[in-house]
């Protein structure tokens, strides 16, 4: 994207996001994206995941963690994770699901899925261990 730096006094540098943008007051007229910045953010749904399971989603190419957490509830459900950062379109992700804290212990489930700009989903088939 093009950028304009008319003068130093009105350049906005929100360093905490890793982005640089320049403006003449609202609206923003330009922004730079660092190579480490995501291309997009999208939602991803874990289908049929058993409540109480812990999930961890990482980039397949470098192993960096994209999301992790605990699925609420105790029965099989669809769980949507909002705003996963996408660094390429599509982006291959590794998904690990584990659930062994309750009385029923499940095998560790691992799968891979693509995250698109439009989002994505994966069917989770957990088996009792």
């Amino acid at each position: 994207m093009s950028a304009a730096y008319p003068s130093g006094w009105n350049t906005v540098v929100p360093v905490e996001t890793g982005k640089v943008s320049a403006s003449l007051g609202p609206p923003v007229i330009g922004a730079f994206r660092l190579p480490t910045d995501p291309l997009f953010y999208a939602n991803f749904t874990l289908q049929n995941v058993i409540g109480g399971s812990r999930f961890r989603i990482t980039r397949n190419d470098n192993g960096n963690e994209l999301a992790s957490g605990l699925v609420p509830g105790s029965v099989a459900t669809d769980h949507t994770i909002s705003g996963i950062a996408g660094f390429e379109n599509p982006m291959l992700m590794r998904i690990v699901i584990r659930n062994a804290s309750g009385s029923t212990k499940y095998r560790s489930f691992e799968t891979f899925a693509f995250l698109y700009k439009s989002g994505g989903s994966s069917y989770i088939l957990q088996q009792v261990d």
Partner: protein, 195 residues
């Protein structure tokens, strides 16, 4: 409670988690260990780590329930707490490979695995000779151990009550067991011949 060191992949089992059987022997329920590891795997800490083990549950075939198997994998090792004095851990509840991944310390392990039908890499399976030639302990094969036991149970003896006793083979051709004793009747040295 067990702990897992994420950087060294060492699984530590405290002595207090084992069931004391008396005489310095403690029992480890391997299935309990499996469940503890499963529990750790789905913790925040464990999620970033590879699986600790593989498990195949019990299976019933024609009315016989075969034991579960438990295999430590991915480079993890098992350390039983070193309490400063030797003790023995007897494993029950599953066939396992803990003996292969156990850290060497003052704790000894009674593995307790039991095999029924097994597969071998080549050939049609284990022959009777393969089974009898399996080393049981101290380099003695199963066949040799049986000969020595037979001598101890029914072989003719010499020197009983003296400082040196011998237990003969059934045909009396050789001493299967030759032992020396101190004044208190304790064995000081034992020579075995199972050939």
């Amino acid at each position: 409670m067990i702990s897992v060191n994420c950087s060294t992949k060492v699984i530590t089992v405290p002595q207090s988690d084992l069931l004391s059987m008396g005489g310095g022997v403690y029992e480890l329920d391997v299935n309990w260990l499996r469940q503890q590891l499963k529990d750790w795997e789905d913790s925040e800490e464990g999620m970033a780590m590879p699986d600790t083990h593989r498990h195949n549950t019990t299976v019933t075939l024609s009315g016989v329930t075969y034991a579960r198997t438990f295999e430590i994998i991915n480079g993890y090792t098992v350390t039983f707490e070193d309490v400063g004095s030797p003790y023995t851990v007897k494993c029950v509840g599953a066939n396992h490979n803990i003996g292969d991944v156990k850290t060497v310390n003052q704790v000894s392990l009674i593995i307790g695995n039991s095999a029924g039908l097994i597969e071998v890499p080549t050939g049609a399976g284990a022959t009777p000779a393969d089974i009898w030639n399996r080393a049981v302990e101290g380099g003695l094969t199963a066949e040799q151990v049986l000969r020595i036991l037979l001598a101890a149970l029914s072989g003719r003896t010499t020197g009983v009550g003296t400082a040196q006793e011998e237990y003969q083979s059934v045909d009396g051709s050789k001493a299967r067991i030759a032992a020396t004793f101190d004044l208190n009747g304790n064995r000081q040295s034992v020579s075995l011949d199972g050939a």
